[in-house]
Symmetry: C2
Subunit: 244 residues, 2 copies
């Protein structure tokens, strides 16, 4: 996406958390960081090291005195907080927010997400400036998210919404072995085992052979791995070197 | 879910990151933390403060010398890393992993997720012990995730998979105003405006009235907010208090 939401840290306390939030943003391609009245001023020497290379985000960060000024150019504002039942706002999950943000951005709007200070979170006066409350469904007995962790969950969902990475990529770029290759391995094993009396009696031969063939079948061998297995069988079937 | 995956931090360097990972785990209900050869030994005094109350996770954390020992009782192991093309393993996103983990746990299996040390990540010898590679799709130009951030994304997806929080909850628990209530407000406004000559001419009356009605219609007022609006109209229509 061309445009992106502003990530607004409201009265953040620790420079380290600002740095970690910047890193989290850039991990998912976000760069519009805004700081409202950071407690220890700005720039903050603790932010850079914590950003681990996301300096571009910190260097471009804009500082505002108030939330009102920080959101002035924004159209849709989300407040990351636990729902306050007295505040008549719709509440969305991070995943739903991601879908809405993509729609707003496609429309040409400028959305923003507000994150509150570490200890106390956003005040009601902050939240009232937002259109929508963002609440991450968490363990109800231990729901307090670290600031940079809250930022990364929002950034992750936003990125994942439009990401086309396949959910599952198979283990072999080349290809799995075909049945002819598998059968070659099975027969090779059976021949060498037979020479050594592995099947013992004709009664046992068929059940044992089926066990062995199922084992090979289920192993999802690639073509290369069938070659490796045949080398192993060949090597085991050889007499040990006398000089060992 | 009753059982849960083990979160295995392999050779973690900073106690602070172990504490933050513990907090991230407990935020989403995970408690089985395992540490493989933590650089600064265990317990680590920096972990507790960073866990911000997730002491139960740190107190129960088990320490192992090797990855082999840490995964001994596990059946399916995921390695959080960027895919190495030479390593024939399936690669999944966090969301796909969450679906697989729930299936394995329902089957009675014990899965685990390996996270590597902060600077270097998992080695090939670590990854070879895993069944599946977990790769978070990130900004390809800035893909290095903080350890606790990688843990929270996995824990979040696992929790979200089974979470039933509605994606969208409307702003009003009571209900939106019905059409009779909205029409009452519209007519109240029109009457008071009419008395003051707002509509100017009969030509303009209908277009202006439609503009006003659309504005009220689109505002998604609750029943309570219609009451508030009527109080505002009534108050504005009154003569100012003379003693102000």
């Amino acid at each position: 996406m061309n445009k992106q939401p502003a990530i607004i840290l409201v009265r953040p306390q620790l420079g380290e958390n600002i740095g970690k939030a910047a890193r989290a943003m850039l991990n998912f391609g976000l760069t519009d960081m805004r700081l409202v009245a950071p407690r220890d001023g700005w720039p903050n020497p603790a932010a850079g090291p914590a950003a681990s290379g996301a300096d571009v985000v910190l260097d471009q960060a804009r500082v505002f005195e108030t939330v009102e000024e920080a959101v002035a150019d924004c159209t849709h504002v989300y407040a990351a907080t636990v729902r306050d039942r007295d505040m008549p706002k719709p509440v969305v999950t991070p995943r739903e927010m991601a879908a809405q943000l993509h729609r707003y951005i496609d429309e040409g709007s400028t959305p923003a997400i507000l994150f509150g200070p570490e200890r106390s979170g956003l005040t009601n006066d902050d939240v009232v400036l937002a259109d929508t409350v963002l609440t991450v469904p968490v363990n109800p007995d231990f729901g307090s998210l670290n600031l940079a962790q809250a930022v990364i969950l929002a950034a992750y969902e936003l990125h994942t919404y439009a990401d086309e990475t396949p959910a599952y990529q198979p283990s072999h770029d080349d290809r799995l072995a075909n049945k002819e290759e598998l059968l070659g391995l099975m027969e090779h094993m059976e021949t060498e085992l037979d020479k050594r009396g592995y099947f013992r009696s004709e009664d046992r031969r068929n059940p044992l052979r089926r066990t062995l063939r199922n084992l090979v079948q289920n192993a999802s061998f690639s073509r290369q791995e069938v070659h490796t297995m045949r080398g192993i069988v060949k090597s085991l079937a050889r007499a040990p070197k006398t000089d060992d």
